[in-house]
Amino acid sequence: MSILVIAEHDNATLNPATLKTLAAAKQIGGDIHLLVAGEGCQAVADEAAKAEGVSKVLLADNAAYGHFLAENLGQLVADLGKDYGHILAPATTTGKNFMPRVAALLDVAQISDIIAVESADTFKRPIYAGNAIATVQSEDTIKVITVRATAFDAVSAEGGNASVEALDNVVNNDKSEFVGEELAKSERPDLTAASVVISGGRGMQNGENFHLLEKVADKLGAAVGASRAAVDAGFVPNDMQVGQTGKIVAPELYIAVGISGAIQHLAGMKDSKVIVAINKDEEAPIFQVADYGLVADLFDVLPELEQKL
């Protein structure tokens, strides 16, 4: 049976989470088709056709899919998905939004947020905020799965030569519509894709002080994140939150600054390769997971760190 993977993109470029989801599909094994649904997204389909392991790109290019509304995307994917053995999407907020609708329309369970493929029907996934890892086996004929992208190494973005097939089926519901969006604009790399992440917590004291982190981030080519405490306190917007209910990151280097290390936060970053903690409280739980800990005042450390890098 073939595998249908749903591409994550912004109508202009393919999100790297797609390449990681393709890696999970490759481990399951089988012919892999990639659906690019969006508006004015031909360039994404062309990019996707070069991805390693994709045999066919399905392109659904219509205004109905421009903002990835779950009602439209869910129905489209369920209609297409009937003939596949597996349907996979990255566990981004888009994937989490429409995939359960696909599963329900196909009358099958969904397996959320897998971190390992044991076999074509058996997967590992974190439960209880990553405090336990469950191995689950699906008896459904179609397996609907979301993939935690950070747990898989991306397939190559180049080298493939898939055909692109344009679809003409259009699903456009009349019960939901896009009104607007406020997207954070940043010159820095995306949090979930960055190889270095530097995050600030309540210890930053206010939003202004985050520029101290930004200066270090610019030296390292890093993305800037935050703990839930910093977001809840209004220092920075929600899209910067790293944690169980925010973004899950696993960079080469994670620097936690003024973050105590609540379970909620650890769930979002403990798979990072190297963790550095900077905190003036030497009892802070973050030090229990850090490879390198520096007990010091962050307002002294950050300018010095910027200068020494």
């Binding site: 009602e71 890892i133 689950v136 009104v179 390198y292």
Partner: protein
């Protein structure tokens, strides 16, 4: 307008989770249980809609054994008007829960259904969306703001890149994110009053839904532990270690 809120009984979020010695599941024996935090936010949002005069009745529903009545009473103490328990000793998966909720929706005909975006035990993040697909209702998931006006609701959603707002025709489904509101504490008089509020019990059989699972739990393990590393004396040592030992910069 009637608002239906679905709630789940889960391990209290302050409790440290332990895996059973035989790796069959996590150990929930003698562990403090509570209302799932996202469900608490859902109840609060519904109660606020009632206080604003937008909703006239808040009905709260939970699925599970008799013990879930404890969480239903909590929701009643927070301001819900009446409760429904769908009694089962099984642990239905999200799809079965969505089917049971669809049965309740058909009976109650709410204009708005509010659920938590995920339960902090299974971390699935599925039920609201599945209920949307089964009932044909539009959905506003991961909500940080809900504005009901004249037959529709505007939902501001927390998405990866920032915030997105969608307009949904009622009846609609909303799932809550953390910043939607800050739930109140139940006052003692309200806890006493909640004991007298109506709580009806129904069953999956009465709703015509099978709760058999199609996904088997084979094994539950503790995650690989990260051990604490070394403390460095100053910034110079930190930079030196990152360059020469960890080789990450």
């Amino acid at each position: 307008m009637k608002v239906l809120v679905a709630v789940k009984r889960v391990i209290d979020y302050n409790v440290k989770v332990r895996v059973k010695a035989d790796n069959s599941d996590v150990d929930l024996a003698n562990v403090k249980m509570a209302l799932n935090p996202f469900c608490e936010i859902a109840v609060e949002e519904a109660v606020r809609l009632k206080e604003k005069g937008i909703a006239d009745e808040v009905v709260v529903v939970s699925i599970g054994p008799k013990a879930v009545q404890e969480q239903l009473r909590t929701a009643l103490a927070l301001g819900a008007d009446r409760a429904i328990q769908v009694e089962t000793d099984e642990l239905p998966d999200s799809l079965a829960v969505a089917k049971l909720l669809k049965g309740v929706v058909e009976k109650e005909q709410p204009q708005l259904v509010i659920l938590g975006k995920q339960a902090i035990d299974s971390d699935n993040n599925q039920t609201g969306q599945m209920l949307g697909a089964l009932t044909g209702m539009p959905q506003g998931t991961f909500a940080s703001k809900v504005d009901v006006a004249d037959g529709s609701v505007n939902v501001t959603r927390e998405v990866d890149g920032g915030l997105q707002t969608v307009k949904l025709q009622l009846p609609a489904i909303v799932t809550t994110d953390l910043r939607l509101n800050e739930p109140r504490y139940a006052s003692l008089p309200n806890i006493m009053k909640a004991k007298k509020k109506p709580l009806d019990v129904t069953t999956p059989d009465e709703l015509g839904v099978s709760v058999a699972r199609t996904v088997k739990l084979l094994k539950v393990e503790a995650p690989a532990e990260r051990s604490a590393g070394v403390k460095v004396a100053d910034v110079a040592e930190l930079v030196e270690k990152l360059k020469n030992e960890a080789k990450v910069i």
